[in-house]
């Protein structure tokens, strides 16, 4: 476990270092991007050194880390706004989207997958397999557009784009949430359904399941207490990876539905080479991935006692 945590820190460090090297590695000066071309070379140089864009990556990382310890994530070189402030406004929105859609996806996938696995080849099994197969083939932005077309353009029952805060208007908030969350969760639900169905199928033919049945255990109880527990290991892995990587999905959905989240911030900062913002966002994203990986590791230990045993052997 200590080794895994060390490895996670190492990964985090490498990502951070790579991010800090971006200004040096990538062509095109940020100073030019911000100030434009009709300023003097001296002005450009002053701008560059003021924002430490020419410092070596380790130094920049050190400055970032010491800043973080003081609650300061730096300031945008374009707008001059504090990065921490930007994040405070936008991060909750993205987190809400991601968490809600992951929850919905898991809640959709689990009961269907377990029931389908219990009766392989049944109508439910074939229908869910077919539906998830189709859902998997629909790109997220296409699904989002289709939902907008159907519910906003044709039926006119939900807003096409935009965002309303919960405190501002709870009903409007939920209305604006539905389509983005659906877009994010349907694809994920298909992924989870297929993974869980395949895994549950493998577990159901295990000897210990036969043994549980030989002692008269009812199907529902086997699925709930035994299959789900064992099958949740790979599921947890996928969910972990997805949550870690959900910034990408969020970017598409936020762009599509014009939601002021992290994804949009990232996209616009890259366009103007706003390095302080890019750096903080990249490190936070990597942190999400790393934390998710460690959490997956931990839950493995809780779910399967053999793992901690084997690790100690």
């Amino acid at each position: 476990m200590v080794r895994r945590a060390g490895r996670a820190l190492c990964v985090l460090f490498l990502v951070a270092l790579a991010t800090m090297s971006l200004p040096l590695l990538l062509p095109g000066s940020a100073a030019v991007a911000v100030l434009g071309t009709n300023v003097s070379a001296a002005e450009l140089a002053a701008f560059t050194s003021m924002h430490h864009l020419d410092a070596n990556p380790l130094e920049r990382l050190w400055m970032w880390v010491t800043g973080v310890l003081h609650g300061d994530l730096g300031t945008s070189i374009v707008s001059g706004a504090s990065v921490a402030g930007e994040l405070q406004a936008r991060l909750p929105i993205t987190v809400e989207l991601v968490v809600l859609s992951q929850l919905l996806a898991i809640l959709l996938a689990i009961p269907v997958a377990l029931r389908a696995a219990w009766r392989p080849g049944s109508l439910l099994d074939r229908l869910s397999a077919g539906l998830s197969f189709v859902l998997l083939s629909i790109p997220g932005f296409v699904l989002g557009l289709a939902l907008i077309f159907l519910f906003a353009v044709q039926l006119r029952i939900l807003p096409a784009t935009g965002w309303v805060g919960f405190a501002q208007d709870p009903v409007g908030h939920v209305q604006h949430l539905i389509l983005p969350v659906l877009t994010l969760s349907l694809g994920e639900a298909a992924v989870y359904l297929r993974a869980l169905r395949a895994n549950a199928g493998e577990i159901l033919v295990e000897n210990y399941i036969h043994a549980a049945r030989s002692r008269g255990m009812a199907p529902g109880r086997i699925l709930r207490t035994r299959v789900l527990r064992s099958a949740s290991l790979p599921l947890v892995t996928i969910v972990g990876i997805n949550i870690g990587a959900s910034f990408g999905g969020a970017l598409i959905v936020e762009t599509l539905f014009a939601i002021p989240g992290i994804g949009r911030l990232l996209s616009s900062s890259i366009a103007v080479r706003d390095y302080p913002v890019i750096e903080s966002l990249a490190i936070i994203a990597a942190l999400a991935v790393v934390v998710a990986t460690v959490a997956v590791d931990l839950s493995y230990r809780i779910i399967d006692p053999r793992i901690s045993h084997a690790a100690n052997n």
Binding site: N207, H210, A211, A212, R213, G216, R221, R229, D304
Partner: protein
């Protein structure tokens, strides 16, 4: 013409614990049919121990699981005959009926305790499943019952060990836990499917001794499924030899292991390397393999490997030949001793 009866000690009129009648089973996968069992019949009296002996592909495990009645059951289109548990047919029963019998009327001990105990569930919960699946047990009740069961099967220090996970036990102890789980529901019939194959010999004998003791103390009937003809002496009352899904011979274990009538049983016994008696450097080998299982066997399934096979052995199903009150061989040679070598 004498009618074959069950073991002499058992009253003739008693309802047999298990009665399998002309059971044929087929499984279909990828459009191919596998005929696993063909016309298998036998009875198991109450308190009796019957051994089912066969090599891989004999269908012995499928037979055991069909009697148990849970797990993937053969499609009704592909099964014929009857499997009666004290008179109740398992083949025609609903899944719910079969489930209500599993654990309390018939229970199973598996070959590999490592895979047949759930690695993620503490053993006390697994041991009392046959009871807890039927009525709600308080945690205290359940744990007390688990301690009692583990003590009954000789697991030392049960109060402490009920909280362990399966992998924390040695193979032999794990199998004892498996046995405890099987007998917790106090079943009438215990099916032990190769219960000691995964264990070392010294552990094997202790586990078999335990099974003997349980059977004698509780009066359970037992079906001991094994590939090892050596295990049976002194443990099984009768032995049934299965080959390619057919019964070749059935009779008292004494007779099967010392005076077998079917050429297959004879050859199988001869091929076992012996530790006692004369040293044999060259063992009589039995070449060839099982007949194809994708179609019903015509004639005797062993005919292609049998040294004394006659023409009708390949074409006609052999008759049941009664050699002693309780000993029957399905063999043309045994039917006509002039042509065969059977006693």
């Amino acid at each position: 013409m004498s009618l074959a009866l069950t073991a002499p000690a058992i009253p003739v009129h008693a309802v047999p614990a298990v009665s399998v009648q002309e059971l044929s089973l087929g499984f279909e996968s990828n459009g191919k049919m596998t005929h696993v069992l063909e016309g298998v019949s036998f009875e198991l009296a109450q308190g009796e121990c019957l051994a089912i002996v066969g090599e891989s592909g004999s269908g012995k495990s499928v037979l055991g699981r069909t009697i148990l009645g849970v797990g993937s059951q053969p499609n009704s289109e592909h099964s014929q005959g009857a499997v009666l548990l004290s008179g109740d047919d398992q083949l025609t029963a609903s899944a719910q009926e079969r489930r209500s019998r599993a654990g309390t009327r018939v229970a199973m001990i598996y070959q590999d305790p490592m895979t047949s105990l759930n690695p993620t569930v503490r053993i006390w919960k697994q041991v009392i499943e046959s009871i807890s699946n039927r009525r709600r047990l308080s945690r205290r009740e359940g744990r007390a019952k688990a301690v009692e069961m583990l003590r009954a099967v000789g697991v030392p220090d049960p109060e402490r060990r009920i909280d362990a996970y399966p992998h924390e036990f040695s193979g032999g102890m794990m199998q004892r836990v498996g046995i405890a789980a099987a007998i917790a529901g106090n079943p009438d019939v215990l099916i032990a499917d190769e219960p000691t194959t995964a264990l070392d010999v010294t552990v094997q004998r202790k586990v078999l001794d335990l099974l003997d003791r349980i059977r004698r103390d509780s009066g359970m009937s037992m079906i001991l499924i094994t590939h090892d003809l050596g295990l049976l002496t002194g443990r099984a009352d009768r032995t049934m030899v299965l080959y390619a899904g057919r019964v070749l011979e059935i009779g008292p274990t004494e007779r099967i292991t010392t005076a077998p009538a079917h050429p297959y049983t004879q050859r199988l016994l001869a091929a076992i390397p012996n530790v006692s008696g004369t040293l044999r450097r060259e063992l009589p080998a039995l070449d060839g393999g099982l007949p194809p299982l994708d179609r019903p066997r015509t004639g005797c399934p062993f005919a292609s490997r049998c040294e004394i096979a006659m023409p009708q052995c390949h074409t006609e199903r052999p008759p049941a030949v009664q050699l002693a009150p309780d000993h029957i061989a399905h063999c043309w040679a045994a039917a006509d001793p002039a042509e065969g070598t059977a006693p």
